[in-house]
Symmetry: C2
Subunit: 269 residues, 2 copies
């Protein structure tokens, strides 16, 4: 029998965020692997997933997928149907693309079952308009005390074009470190201090989103100097830095949905 490798997206929060199509693929597979190091799925419990799928799941690490090239997965996929469960929508992380290319080159058929992604979720949850987002960026933790300037440059470039910036916050699953909105804002304010171009000041608006897809999702918009003190609770967190100008309906949405201060209406004039 010819094998197959199916990438199945788990969606955002827990074992209920997989699609019916994804669950069907799982039930139909001979081997199920899962990785949880590219994103945090705080509500996902393996035992719950075993109950709904009737299947055992082998969790793979970054070392398994990257250093070892996913060898264990590819070996089984040569003559059996294998599912790799992935948080969010599959193939957004380079790691998964690399594995897919290795499989295809070895003659193993691959397939994708999509899942809800933080990329579209935070756009919808914020009420900001999708076509007004520029390039997105990840805010990394400092490395040996050094901060990457990239987030600052990306926000500056987007703001110059009157575009919003979606910021993914650093995930270091091996160290159990998930960047919070507070940490991200402090990094951005430090970058502003170091560069002083007025791109990200305490007065600027930011929108924080915590635990997208869960029952206790929080979406809160405020000036950075105030948002930095807002308690968003547990990770995962995401952050949006809006453009200086808002569409009228974006301002309204931020007030109604994200409890923004009334002065955001001025940004739509």
């Amino acid at each position: 029998m010819a094998g197959e490798l199916v990438f199945v997206g788990l969606g955002l929060y827990d074992h209920l965020d997989i699609s019916l199509r994804g669950l069907r693929e799982v039930k139909d597979a001979a081997y199920i692997f899962a990785e949880f190091y590219t994103s945090l799925m705080p509500g996902f419990v393996l035992d719950d997933f075993r109950k709904i799928s009737g299947k055992d799941v082998t969790v793979v690490s970054r070392r398994n997928l990257e250093d070892e090239g996913g060898k264990a997965i590819l070996e089984r996929a040569r003559d059996a149907k294998v599912v790799l469960l992935v948080p969010g929508d599959p193939l957004i992380a380079t790691t998964h693309i690399a594995l897919r290319l290795r499989a295809e080159r070895e003659g193993i058929k691959t397939k994708v079952v999509h899942g809800a992604s933080i990329i579209s979720a935070v756009v919808g949850l914020s009420g900001l308009q999708n076509y007004r987002f520029g390039k997105s960026v990840t805010i990394p933790f400092s490395e040996g005390g050094r901060l990457s300037k990239t987030p600052y440059l990306v926000v500056a470039e987007n703001k110059a074009r009157n575009l919003h910036t979606l910021c993914f916050l650093d995930v270091r699953a091996e160290e159990n470190k998930y960047m919070t909105i507070k940490e991200a804002l402090e990094i951005l304010l430090t970058l502003e201090e170091n560069n002083r171009q007025g791109v990200i000041t305490g007065k600027n608006l930011a929108v924080g989103i915590a635990r997208a897809g869960s029952g206790d999702v929080i979406v809160k918009a405020d000036a950075i100097k105030d948002l930095v003190n807002f308690d968003f609770g547990r990770p995962p967190h995401s952050l949006i830095l809006p453009a200086e100008k808002l569409h009228f309906m974006e301002a309204e949405a931020l007030i109604v949905i994200a409890n923004a201060p009334k002065w955001v209406m001025e940004m739509s004039k």
Copy 2:
């Protein structure tokens, strides 16, 4: 009993693309509405959905949601749990945001259950890197013989920053018109003829994606002059116009996954 309006994403293709969480909300609701005019879900059959959910679904039109402001939905949501089923991930379309704001202003609680979106799906399917996408754009059909110049300007702006452009293709569900990749490329080539800035020529690379999320998804990359003759089959279609420079792994992915011509490797040098 206090009412509630739950926006549930249906995902990309058919009735199996809803999440387990979404289906649970449907089973638990007193009234189910659905709209299919913002996106095409070609495999979705109401009867199949009734079978898996045990629920009747009322399909609403653009007129119901926009001209009438979703009155029928809001009236029921005042004192009962109501689900609105939406293709893809909810609240990406302005229409849904407007309905959510009206509900919240009337004191009706709202909630979102996310679904797979074309926004992340086409990124993953193409093998191109998410953080290299700039602003996205919709390519509209001509209106009275006049073409919108916006797509040309957006692609030009993104290319100047070495970024990819995701193009959504126009959907006019009421007229059963769904723009094809061929039509979109012809519009872009006409815009190039009218503007002559060398932004979108026949030699440039484009990536077409047809029926994302389905069993017969097609992803094909080629020079625009050749891609315009490629048969992608039935809609829905999407289009990516990549930057002039590719990352080495992006070029490899396009060759392996999207059957791109070998010269795309030159774009990664």
